[in-house]
Symmetry: none
Subunit: 124 residues, 4 copies
């Protein structure tokens, strides 16, 4: 499980960590019950601050991807603890709205957008 942080882009570090872990779950590298590195350890290996890692871990916990077990560590949850629900679908739609609007305005058809989605979906 490799996490790459890019300080030059403007995505916050904690989001990059969050996204990398979600990707790890998706790729099957992080399976249910598997333990993440301690916040100190990951912080040190990424050369970032412990609190930054903790922030990522707490967001993942809030989103149901992991359980933070005090004095034990952070472990990956079961799939159905982060299966898409109504609330998530609303957020997803919101996130997509301005992207799709711009794409349509720039002349892309729904099919063209969908083929990009499909490409991303299959290559991860």
């Amino acid at each position: 499980m490799l996490i790459q942080i890019d300080m030059s882009i403007d995505k916050p570090i904690y989001e990059q960590i969050r996204d990398a872990i979600i990707k790890g779950i998706l790729k099957g590298e992080l399976t249910k019950g598997k333990q993440l590195p301690s916040s100190r350890a990951l912080a040190s290996s990424l050369s970032v601050n412990m609190h930054t890692v903790n922030k990522a871990y707490n967001i993942l916990k809030q989103d149901g991807f992991v359980s933070v077990i005090k004095r034990k560590g952070v472990v990956i949850n079961d799939k159905n603890q982060y299966r898409a629900d109504e609330a998530y679908l609303n957020i997803l739609e919101e996130k997509l709205e301005s992207i799709v609007t711009e794409a349509k305005c720039r002349g892309l058809t729904a099919d063209e957008i969908n083929s990009i989605i499909g490409k991303i979906y299959n290559q991860i």
Copy 2:
């Protein structure tokens, strides 16, 4: 052409203005050659800072949606000045990547994502 600013969400105001104008173009309310309100006027009617409107206008100009014509104001460009190109497609793919990753991780199929896209696409 109505622009609604929502201070409570964390999308920057200049992005909300930008998105609203792109939406206006898409809906046919803002057609080629049509003039946008002066930044002073729009700022006043939205109760935001003039620099915020200018920032939105400059991004729109950079993206090819409008031209800033001296002593004339800001006018909407022709469609082919902002038609999707290679560079835009790369940015689009980047924007979609982490969204699609999370959606897949949460159990959505590519078809389900596409149907959300389709829904957004058709209702705007």
Copy 3:
């Protein structure tokens, strides 16, 4: 609106701040749209760190009590944004379970507990 922090009890400071603000809402001192002091200002007046105040504010935001408006401040939400829902009722039940169990074990009747609840409910 007075907030009192007690360093000697073991309730975290950010929870004390959170609870004080909820109490303020309940007492009608903090009404919809009213602005909370900036995190710096409140931190300074309570002699605690800004991050501690921010943590309280973010929890209140997450729970629907306030909106955090970047570069503007934190404002109280409308009642129906924090009206009890299913999720809250579950949490509430969890919180009450061990308390009620102990009370029953110590010989209190349901009526006795309820009269304590009633007393608290009416005096705030």
Copy 4:
């Protein structure tokens, strides 16, 4: 008498043990004079540290629920050794205060809270 420890919630293990034993007393599984397993034995069967069990036992002793008898072990006390007194009622009220405040703020009536209490009270 079954004790279930849940590492994933953030209630300390020693409190979970304490609560489980109080529940056992309430359900009549642990009656006056009955002996609790040795801390070593319970720790082993729960896969937790012996000190954690001892901490739970010591709190139970302090609260009057059990007596620690040398060379005999830990035995359940008589009901009137842990019957609710003034001190306990004060603690109880304190514990309930912030819970009730939030519930009221979220629009619950005293009756609604009491019906939740009643439900919990009767099902244990």
